[in-house]
């Protein structure tokens, strides 16, 4: 099964100033979002293989789109996250089928390495529902400066029979990180944690 895509949206957020101070280097986030038809809408479907395949396809498509939107090389990506909003004719598990089994591998290929878990969020929602895509360091989950989120909201999606799928990446942590903990520079990134 291939994703029936209605639209793809890309958002780039550059933070250049915060509290009257220049952010240097500028912190940057990008999200790539696909609005797809939910092939399992309206009924209980036990076997969700089709959605898992769509997840694999979107991990590649959205991963590359998001990285390209930042205009950096894959290895310069520092953190990532993924999320889905299921329209009202679907089931929360449809989001799980897209996000968890197969989306991660092509996404990791798009950002190089990716030893850490890809943080995720999912929910049911109407057109215009905001979703916070959680962000975590791509190679060491405990890097404290990179815990973040990116809100995504598409005014006309998801319709009842649709699913919104989002991938977010950054080439930086938060602006002015100063609550201590493990840093990007000190992470060994071998076990995906520290």
């Amino acid at each position: 099964m291939t994703a029936k895509i209605r639209k793809i949206i890309t958002i780039v957020e550059d933070t250049v100033r915060e509290m009257d101070r220049d952010v240097d280097p500028v912190t940057r986030k990008a999200a790539a979002i696909a609005i797809i038809e939910n092939p399992c809408a309206g009924e209980f479907v036990e076997e969700l293989e089709g959605l898992m395949r769509i997840g694999e396809e979107l991990g590649d498509l959205l991963g590359r789109r998001a990285v390209n939107a930042l205009g950096v090389s894959p290895k310069e990506i520092q953190s990532y996250g993924k999320a889905a909003v299921v329209g009202d004719a679907g089931e929360l598990e449809h989001a799980a089928a897209i996000l968890h089994p197969r989306l991660g591998k092509p996404l990791r290929a798009a950002v190089e390495k990716g030893a850490a878990l890809v943080p995720s969020a999912k929910k049911m929602g109407a057109a215009g529902t905001p979703i916070d895509v959680p962000l975590g360091h791509k190679d060491a989950a405990y890097v404290r400066s990179h815990f973040d989120g990116m809100e995504v909201r598409i005014h006309d999606a998801p319709r009842g029979n649709e699913i919104l799928v989002a991938v977010a990446v950054t080439d930086s942590g938060r602006p002015f990180p100063r609550v201590g903990g493990l840093t990007h520079e000190d992470a060994e990134s071998n076990d995906g944690l520290r």
Binding site: E93, A96, P101, L117, P119, D132, V179
Partner: protein
Amino acid sequence: MTFTERKTFIALDRSTHEFGPPSEKPLLVAGICGVVSNPFAGRHVEELEPAMKELEPLGLRLARELLDAMACSPDAIEAYGKGAIVGTAGELEHGALWHAPGGYGMRQLLGDTRAIVPSTKKVGPLGATIDIPLAHVNAAYVRSHFNTMQLQVPDAPRPDELVFCLAMATGPRIHARMGGLKANDIVGKDGLR
């Protein structure tokens, strides 16, 4: 520096049925939001780290109040998460203050949990929603327990406030059927598997 509390907001979501057959065990997902003043609002304050210690009692208390509201024992909690919304006169970094104390509060209460507490944060206006990511308390890769709790306090955060959130769940998603690592198969050493 003081975080003055204005209110606590609790949301309980009990699901028993989702398409298909009724679930054998209802799933309880719950979240608590503590609304406090932001002592750093309106300007750049360089030194933030000491404030984390000051928030530890709040972390512990919110965790306890949430567990009380869920009316279940600490053993019944299988997934957790945390988050923060910073009012618009604050800085995203102020939300990061919750990392240590939010996790501390839940760990104190739930015992020796091994997995990282998943989190998110944002700057937002009155009534902003936040999607708290949830994952298994002992092994972050347990696929059935990846879930999310949307929280929203209608009258918070005001520009000079912070909303600190904790969320917990008593089990996997209803009709979780995505394979992957199962809760029964957790090795339980590294917090991942």
